[in-house]
């Protein structure tokens, strides 16, 4: 403690936000070093692009999840919303609907499901984990109904381009991730909506009293999360060249893990999507590493569950230590 006081007296005080981001970058760098030593193919251009491409789905999902978690909420439905909206788009494409319209339909459906989540949380005042958990099972159920137990596969090249194409040498999923990430960053950092997200998460009552439209902020947050889930779903289906009822089921835990590892507080009001980008990269390298090291994929649920829990524990511990130091 005296060390910190001294450092501050000498004018060295580190902004906690930089410390958070810095510590995560350090973990990311450390992982890269370990992986490079453990596996000769890790630090190759192909694998690096591969990691980034795989991470892009997680980043897109993570943007929406971060926005919701900043309001002290949670969106457990993203996996099912991803599935359901991508099934809608896939069915539309197969029915001969022009591609832009079909994509728009998927995105609108995702946003609409998110909107319903927002209504349940903001207006009905259900706890977020109940409302979105219900949505998770309902959306998954209707995806099964729409697919009639089948798999839709074999899409036109224009659509597949979103998942497997390149723009100036950069894989499309990465391009789409950037197209979604940059405006989201600006939205969070430089708009009234962004600030009200943080305010609502930090203290709902105070935010309401200071004139922030709490309900509108919450509804918009969940709508954005649904939209992002739908966007991730479209990219995913384009890459797989198939739409089936199970594609979103394993997306929820990694997305939450990415956000939490990225340093966004589950209690709301702290964090952001810079951290989520780093968190998603860490998550992807861990998964990629497990594959490269030949760890069976069946272990991934165990690792993911443990990772989430440990990440939140560590995060709380660091916050507590920082808080007591600043006091």
């Amino acid at each position: 403690m005296t060390g910190a006081t001294e450092a501050r007296a000498r004018g060295w005080h580190l902004d906690p936000r930089i410390l958070y981001t810095g510590s995560r970058l350090f973990v990311l760098a450390l992982l890269c070093v370990v992986m490079t030593i453990a596996s000769p193919v890790f630090l190759t251009g192909t694998n690096a692009l591969n990691v980034l491409r795989v991470a892009s789905l997680l980043v897109i999902l993570g943007i929406g999840q971060t926005i919701v978690i900043l309001t002290a909420g949670i969106d457990l439905s993203i996996g099912s919303v991803l599935t359901f909206s991508s099934v809608i788009a896939a069915l539309a494409i197969k029915a001969g609907v022009p591609l832009p319209l079909a994509l728009a339909a998927g995105l609108v459906v995702g946003a609409a499901l998110g909107f319903l989540n927002g209504l349940m949380v903001a207006v009905v005042k259900l706890p977020a984990f109940i409302a979105t958990y219900g949505m998770m099972w309902v959306a998954a159920g209707f995806a099964v109904v729409l697919l009639k137990g089948q798999v839709i596969y074999g899409f036109e090249d224009n659509f597949r381009f979103l998942g497997v194409g390149n723009l100036l040498g950069v894989p499309m999923p990465i391009v789409i991730m950037g197209v979604l990430w940059i405006p989201s960053y600006l939205l969070l950092r430089h708009t009234t909506f962004g600030r009200s997200l943080y305010a609502v998460g930090a203290n709902q009552e105070a935010a309401r009293l200071s004139g922030i439209k709490k309900d509108r902020t919450l509804i918009l947050a969940y709508t954005l999360s649904g939209f992002m889930a739908a966007a991730a779903g479209l990219v995913f289906v384009a890459r797989l060249n198939a739409s089936e009822a199970g594609i979103g089921a394993n997306m929820l835990l990694p997305a939450i893990a990415a956000v939490v590892i990225g340093g966004t507080s589950l209690f709301g009001g702290e964090g952001g999507i810079v951290g989520t980008l780093i968190g998603a990269l860490i998550m992807t390298i861990v998964q990629n590493g497990m594959n490269l090291l030949g760890i069976e994929s069946v272990w991934q649920g165990v690792v993911l569950g443990a990772l989430i829990v440990v990440a939140v524990l560590l995060d709380q511990w660091v916050r507590k230590a920082l808080a007591s130091e600043n006091a």
Binding site: L76, I130, A140, V144, G301, V302, G305, I308, V309, L313
Partner: protein, 327 residues
């Protein structure tokens, strides 16, 4: 003991619930559904079918008791379904290893208690929000179930084990006998012991309970251990009924259990609720499932429809309560 009634007796006379006996709304819904399916489905009103409903509702009732205990402490346990799966797996593995049925049942239940202890420890010692601790445990337990079964169902046809699931005591199926016992023990535990009084008191006012000298962390921890053990008992019975442990058999069961609890009138804040209400919630879900089967609604439609009905019921329940239409 008189302290159990303190919370009630300090309420002014005018705020007490009306003294005349009134059926809770969920009871009306159950009666309505019985009438509806009775008229529309010829096979519904038969002794065989009612036994069927009881059999199908048994595991859900055991899970519902677990969920009710947890939700009464203002917590949530999203891992109950995966714990159910994992306990069935460990029990069948022990049987396959040549151990006796009591040992297998015990190992299954201890597996669940251990999962509950980890979740409870993360919540009480690690101070994690219950939904994230149990979400992590959901991933871990589901992951271990996949690892242990090598991703396929594992079988056991030991007669004494199968009897737990398929046998009957007089006219009552064994699962129903166990469920009734669990309910009875749960009722005594909740309403006649310190454990139950503390649980209700923690849900009503955790800080106040702690300040009055109760070790709230310990009792909350025990609640999650008990919930894990009960979910495991449900998993053992399920495995006995199927003669197999399937690595995804428990997926979504926690949703039904939580839904039954909330539909039964337990609110997820303030620790209000009754075990009797949960029985009604379990009946509602079981009759809905059974009725849809008897009417001939396809298996594909059922998860979507049931999820939708449950969420709609919860939303209406909460909205009506907020507007003071129902108690």
């Amino acid at each position: 003991m008189t302290d159990g009634g303190v919370a009630k007796s300090i309420r002014p006379e005018s705020e007490r619930p009306a003294a005349r006996a009134k059926l809770p709304p969920v009871a009306w819904v159950v009666l309505f559904m019985i009438a509806f399916f009775g008229v529309t489905a010829p096979g519904f009103f038969t002794v065989g079918n009612f036994l069927n409903i009881m059999l199908q509702g048994s595991v859900l009732l055991i899970m519902g008791v677990a969920a009710t205990f947890v939700i009464l402490t203002e917590g949530i346990d999203l891992s109950l379904g995966s714990v159910l799966t994992l306990a069935g797996v460990t029990a069948v593995l022990v049987l396959q290893g040549g151990q006796s049925v009591p040992v297998a049942v015990l190992v299954g239940i201890l597996t669940g208690a251990a999962c509950g202890a980890v979740t409870g420890g993360l919540i009480t010692v690690g101070k994690l929000p219950p939904f994230i601790a149990s979400l992590g445990m959901m991933g871990i337990a589901a992951g271990f179930a996949l690892v242990l079964t090598r991703q396929g169902a594992i079988y056991s046809d030991v007669p004494a084990f199968i009897f737990l699931g398929e046998g009957s005591l007089g006219i009552l199926p064994m699962p129903t006998v166990v469920a009734v016992l669990v309910f009875a023990v749960g009722w005594v535990g909740l309403y006649q012991t310190d454990f139950g009084r503390y649980i209700i008191s923690i849900g009503g006012n955790e800080a106040g309970t702690r300040l009055s000298g109760v070790n709230t962390a310990w009792w909350k921890f025990l609640t999650y251990v008990a919930a894990g053990a009960l979910a495991a008992l449900g998993g053992v019975i399920m495995a006995a009924r199927l003669g197999a442990a399937d690595p995804i058999v428990g997926n979504g069961w926690e949703f039904d259990a939580i839904a039954a609890t909330i539909l039964g009138g337990t609110s997820f804040e303030k620790g209000n609720g009754t075990l009797g209400g949960t029985v009604l919630g379990v009946l509602l879900i079981s009759i809905l499932r059974n009725g849809l089967n008897v009417v001939g609604v396809g298996a594909m439609w059922q998860p979507a429809l049931i999820g939708l009905v449950i969420i709609a019921a919860i939303v209406f329940d909460v909205l009506l309560k907020q507007r003071g239409v129902i108690q």
